[in-house]
Symmetry: C2
Subunit: 205 residues, 2 copies
């Protein structure tokens, strides 16, 4: 059985939980407290040198890290990842957009607001991060003007990757009201069954 090393409040981990659920793959969930440095222990670094969740252990014992690489691995050969070469590259384009132009400006503000003390100096980063967060949401809104999903008009891992932190962007101070197409897409993703929420604790197996 796959083991998922994760932190419940992480949108990156949630991507993997949502896809595993929708693929009907049971998994063992191991809570790793990133706020207590549990990703920087020698034991954890032996699984993932970069010391981050999510990290999965496959049934054969091998490890894989980086949320979007894990999504790709799990989705291969399923309806969540197209077979055609250009469509597959577009999935990656959006997943790299997510990690480079979106996550640091949509997810990080949420982390700062939810997990750091009111007087933490990192709160000073918020205004600049939110400017770039709005730019990322604007890119998504424009792409969705004429589309129902990010690639090939079919729900898949590019949508899961972008949904994870976008649907909770308001937690970090990014209003979603100005983006009607984006909100309609969020509702379409949330309507995919079976659905689990970001903070739904996985069953203990």
């Amino acid at each position: 059985m796959i083991t998922l090393y994760d932190y419940l409040d992480s949108g990156n981990g949630y991507k993997v939980r949502l896809l595993l659920t929708q693929l009907g793959i049971p998994y063992r969930y191991v809570d790793v407290d990133i706020m207590r440095g549990e990703t920087r222990t020698p034991q954890f670094l032996a699984m993932n040198l970069d010391g981050r969740i999510p990290t999965i252990q496959l049934e054969d014992g091998r490890y894989l890290a980086q949320s979007d690489a894990i999504l790709w691995y799990l989705a291969e050969g399923t309806a969540f990842l197209p077979a055609e070469r250009y469509a597959r590259a577009q999935v990656l384009q959006w997943m790299f957009f997510e990690q480079y132009s979106h996550e640091p400006y949509v997810a990080t503000p949420r982390f700062i607001v939810r997990h750091l003390p009111a007087d933490d100096p990192r709160r000073g980063e918020l205004p600049q991060r939110l400017v770039r967060g709005r730019a990322a949401l604007e890119v998504m809104e424009k792409h969705l003007q004429s589309r129902s999903y990010f690639v090939d008009e079919r729900y898949g891992i590019a949508d899961i990757a972008l949904y994870a932190y976008t649907h909770v962007a308001e937690d970090g101070g990014l209003e979603l009201a100005p983006y009607p197409k984006l909100r309609a897409w969020l509702a379409r993703v949330a309507g995919q069954k079976p659905y689990v929420g970001l903070l739904d604790r996985p069953p203990q197996i």
Copy 2:
């Protein structure tokens, strides 16, 4: 023929130039001056909503952005990308590591040092970025303790993605002397023929 929209000093663009050269694929090179806002014109945004180079136009007219997604597209079916599922996911793991944990802390300091005025306030970001840059180089050094290349002991696009900004990390103030395995790997990559340098201007076609 493929058209590459690029900025010569960009390591992200260089990844694509190096792979195109090594695959023997001729391409048309179009210089886009990111310092003059040429990636934010309506014409450029029609090719890539996120307004970034590198962006390629395929022979059929379609566009693809994000350097590592472009590498994946071009390398598919070649010796630069393994065929086996876990190895492919590891390639992605390292490419997402590159964009998330490496590029902002290895490439951005180089950009700040080379392109922003001496009194630019963004120079204040350098110390913190360099701390995380050294952490990224440390991860690479540890991974290379027992390996010649990043995935499957074979040169490929994970190496190209990581090489692009690592081999010029000193431009941004990151010393490479403390990382002997990393330097040996850099030399192995630089020994791959045909090789082009980051600042070698592509031939006009």
